[in-house]
């Protein structure tokens, strides 16, 4: 039950948030999140359009949060300005559903969650990165979120070679080449969210250890051992492993310059949601590419999965395919437009096929303050016999900012 007192607190909170936004908008060079503040850089040093990283940002992240070639100059977190940052967005959200009896439509101004972030160097060759999302109850004007330590990891860098870095803790795994945490769209990458009942969304942050490295000629690798799905982690960890190989063509990392192709293999073990039976396997193999030509970037992901039938409770193993093609247009530093097609094909026994179209853009009032417009249309196979395709239409107009 929500009491009147709670309601007034929430109104107060919203008022405060609105004030913060206004203040942020009025600052001449407002937001300077952790790394930018440490170095005195603009956000665009590392982000092509925040939160998406550019090649420089990618190299920086991969190098254990140290500027490549400047490792000797780096300062530790104790010597730098407050290593804290936040990100949130506020605006109008409209979500209209049909043929999904359990879901209610949304059409209101909302505060869309809050990420609190800390990062820096703990030692010469030890970087860390944390994202905490405080628990927020859903309510009128507030999109709810679970309280979680979404990411908390340290990266150990070999002082001698770029072929060896180890990331430990909870992190965004390298087998997700198109980061969901730093995606430009609000609409999710469907294939990355796809999972058997109770299974982990493929692209979620995971806990474990990941070894990465890179060098000439344009080769990058990552291999990891991570906990099994959250549903049964107690008995299953560590269970899942993966390997990823990338080749970069031309100068750059394929993110904002040059081209990149990648191959990913993943094998997991999980206990079916029903519980009792022994662990069953699921596999994913994927291929992806990111190409840059002038102001255009084209990203393509293809993923094939095969899950043991017991994970789905079906008669046959479930094989599915999916992916997306995403086109970005970046005509100016302060403007980016995106269009993406997502699809998932599943066998008739599962009937969770999805098609999604997303278009939109972001205009940057400041380096770290973006006006975001997006429309997305999603259709999914009928969720019950007798119903038509389930559809979702998402429209959002918001201000996304970090500080």
């Amino acid at each position: 039950m929500r009491t009147n007192a709670m309601r007034s607190v929430s109104r107060l909170g919203l008022g405060a948030a609105a004030l913060c936004v206004a203040a942020a908008l009025m600052q001449p060079a407002s937001a300077v999140p952790v790394f930018a503040r440490k170095y005195g850089f603009n956000c665009t040093m590392c982000h092509s359009a925040f939160p998406r990283l550019n090649d420089f940002g990618l190299r920086y992240r991969r190098n254990g949060y140290r500027i490549p070639g400047r490792e000797n100059l780096e300062k530790l977190v104790y010597e730098t300005p407050t290593p804290l940052a936040m990100r949130t967005s506020v605006g109008y959200n409209s979500e209209t559903f049909s043929n999904t009896p359990e879901t209610t439509n949304v059409a209101e101004f909302q505060l869309n969650g809050l990420d609190m972030l800390s990062a820096g160097l703990l030692g010469r060759n030890i970087g860390y990165f944390m994202v905490y999302t405080p628990q927020i109850a859903a309510g009128r004007g507030v999109a709810g979120q679970d309280g979680a330590l979404e990411a908390a990891n340290v990266v150990l860098s070999s002082p001698r070679s770029t072929w060896f870095y180890a990331r430990l803790g909870r992190f965004e795994p390298a087998y997700v080449p198109f980061s969901v945490k730093r995606s430009l769209t609000v609409a999710s990458y469907e294939i990355y969210d796809f999972a058997f009942p109770g299974g982990p969304p493929f692209a979620d942050t995971r806990t474990g250890v990941e070894i990465t490295g890179w060098g000439d000629p344009g080769i990058r690798y990552a291999a990891g051992l991570i906990d099994g799905s959250d549903t049964n982690s107690a008995s299953d960890s560590p269970a899942d492993m993966y390997l990823r190989l990338e080749k970069v063509i031309g100068a750059g990392e394929g993110q904002t310059a040059g081209h990149r192709i990648g191959l990913t293999g993943y094998r997991g073990l999980a206990r079916p949601e029903s519980g009792a039976s022994p662990r069953k396997s699921f596999t994913r193999v994927g291929a992806d590419a990111s190409m840059n030509v002038g102001i255009w970037n084209l990203g393509v992901q293809y993923l094939h999965g095969e899950d043991n039938r017991e994970l789905w409770g079906t008669a046959e193993n479930v094989k599915f395919d999916g992916g997306f093609a995403e086109l970005l247009c970046h005509p100016r530093t302060d403007l980016v437009a995106f269009a993406r097609y997502d699809w998932v094909d599943t066998p008739s026994s599962v009937r969770m096929g999805v098609n999604r179209w997303t278009v939109g853009g972001r205009y940057y009032l400041e380096d770290s303050v973006a006006v975001h417009l997006e429309y997305s249309h999603r259709t999914q196979s009928p969720i019950q016999t007798g119903l038509g395709h389930a559809t979702e239409r998402l429209f959002t107009a918001r201000v996304d900012f970090a500080l």
Partner: protein, 342 residues
């Protein structure tokens, strides 16, 4: 809900913490900003007579073999204290392999020369006099010439209490160079708070410089140089480095093709650019960076194709032009006549 309120409160605090631009003073590692006073070594304090002597030596062609060449020949006040030729010509029109960097603000550089082979201006100053393709003297010959000029002998005695010595020549020239400072540019006025000192294009260029174009990690600090050495691939062709750069000093293979990051104050005055003078204009330099430099096995990891638009390139040039300081007010000296009044 309590957590939300707490979050928002924390948020407000952060907003307050984050206000304004970071500067070197706030501990931001790479911020540019205003120049501090010129660093002066304890064993060579500044004094007006010493600076005047240094100025005379700097402009005196008699310090070269055939009396044609002075420091000012290659580091000319009329050309931003640099040389408009891609590579300099010394005595007998001999060519060196490198473009003469400006002497402006070299006092702020932790190491001298493109490859950093001299630690101080004092150490640097004796180099060109003895360089066979520059002034082509030995120090003994040079000192003999100076000792034959009564005005110089008198000045050395007054200032150093000795006859002309190598050390005195070096100290006097270095002291003079510490007065050749580029400052008070539109950029400086902008940083001091005059928001109309730079054009909107230059302001956009400044943000690119410190953002999308990735210039500040190397051109950092108030003199726009990290004083360090980087490989941009300049002069690398057909599998070899025309000039091995820093490697020649350290013999460390990791230093192959690395050159010192030049400061960028008054950079618009010192065309052509790069250590071999291979880029004619600032716009050409920007094109070079836009391509991601010149691919080679030792290319700096920060060199990446930038995909700048035509407008963004123009903005960067406008910013570099806004780094031009007020002209250094130095009039060429009257040189002491040779013995016998020649």
């Amino acid at each position: 809900m309590r957590i939300l309120t707490l979050g928002i409160a924390a948020f407000g605090v952060l907003l307050w913490l984050a206000h304004g631009n970071p500067s070197a003073a706030d501990g931001a590692m790479f911020a540019n900003g205003l120049l501090p006073p010129v660093p002066v070594p304890a064993d060579n304090p500044m004094d007006a007579a010493k600076v005047e002597l240094g100025k005379q030596l700097y402009f005196d062609t008699r310090l070269s073999k055939d009396s044609t060449t002075s420091c000012a020949t290659c580091h000319s006040p009329d050309h931003g204290w640099a040389d408009p030729k891609p590579v300099s010509e010394g005595v007998g029109r001999q060519k060196g392999g490198r473009n003469a960097p400006t002497v402006l603000n070299s006092a702020y550089m932790p190491l001298q020369f493109w490859d950093g082979r001299a630690a101080t201006l004092e150490e640097q100053a004796l180099g060109p006099i003895q360089n066979p393709v520059e002034m082509a003297m030995t120090m003994v010959e040079a000192l003999d010439r100076i000792k034959a000029i009564p005005g110089y002998v008198e000045a050395f005695r007054r200032i150093f209490g000795t006859e002309p010595t190598e050390e005195g020549v070096a100290k006097a020239i270095a002291a003079f160079e510490r007065t050749v400072i580029s400052t008070d540019s539109p950029y400086d006025r902008y940083v001091r708070g005059n928001r109309s000192a730079m054009s909107p294009s230059a302001v956009r260029g400044m943000n690119l410089f410190n953002g999308k174009a990735h210039c500040t990690p190397c051109h950092s600090g108030p003199n726009f140089s990290d004083g360090d050495f980087h490989n941009l691939g300049v002069g690398y062709a057909a599998g070899r480095y025309a000039d091995k750069g820093r490697f020649d000093v350290t013999k460390n293979p990791a230093d192959l093709g690395k050159f010192k990051t030049p400061g960028l104050r008054s950079i618009a005055l010192t065309a052509p650019y790069l250590h071999d003078g291979s880029e004619r204009t600032l716009a050409d330099v920007i094109e070079f960076y836009d391509r991601g430099g010149n691919p080679n096995p030792n290319l700096d990891p920060l060199m990446l194709p930038l995909h700048l638009t035509a407008q963004e390139k123009a903005d960067l040039v406008a910013f570099l032009e806004a780094l031009t300081g007020e002209p250094v007010k130095i009039t060429p000296p009257t040189l002491p006549p040779a013995a016998g009044g020649k």
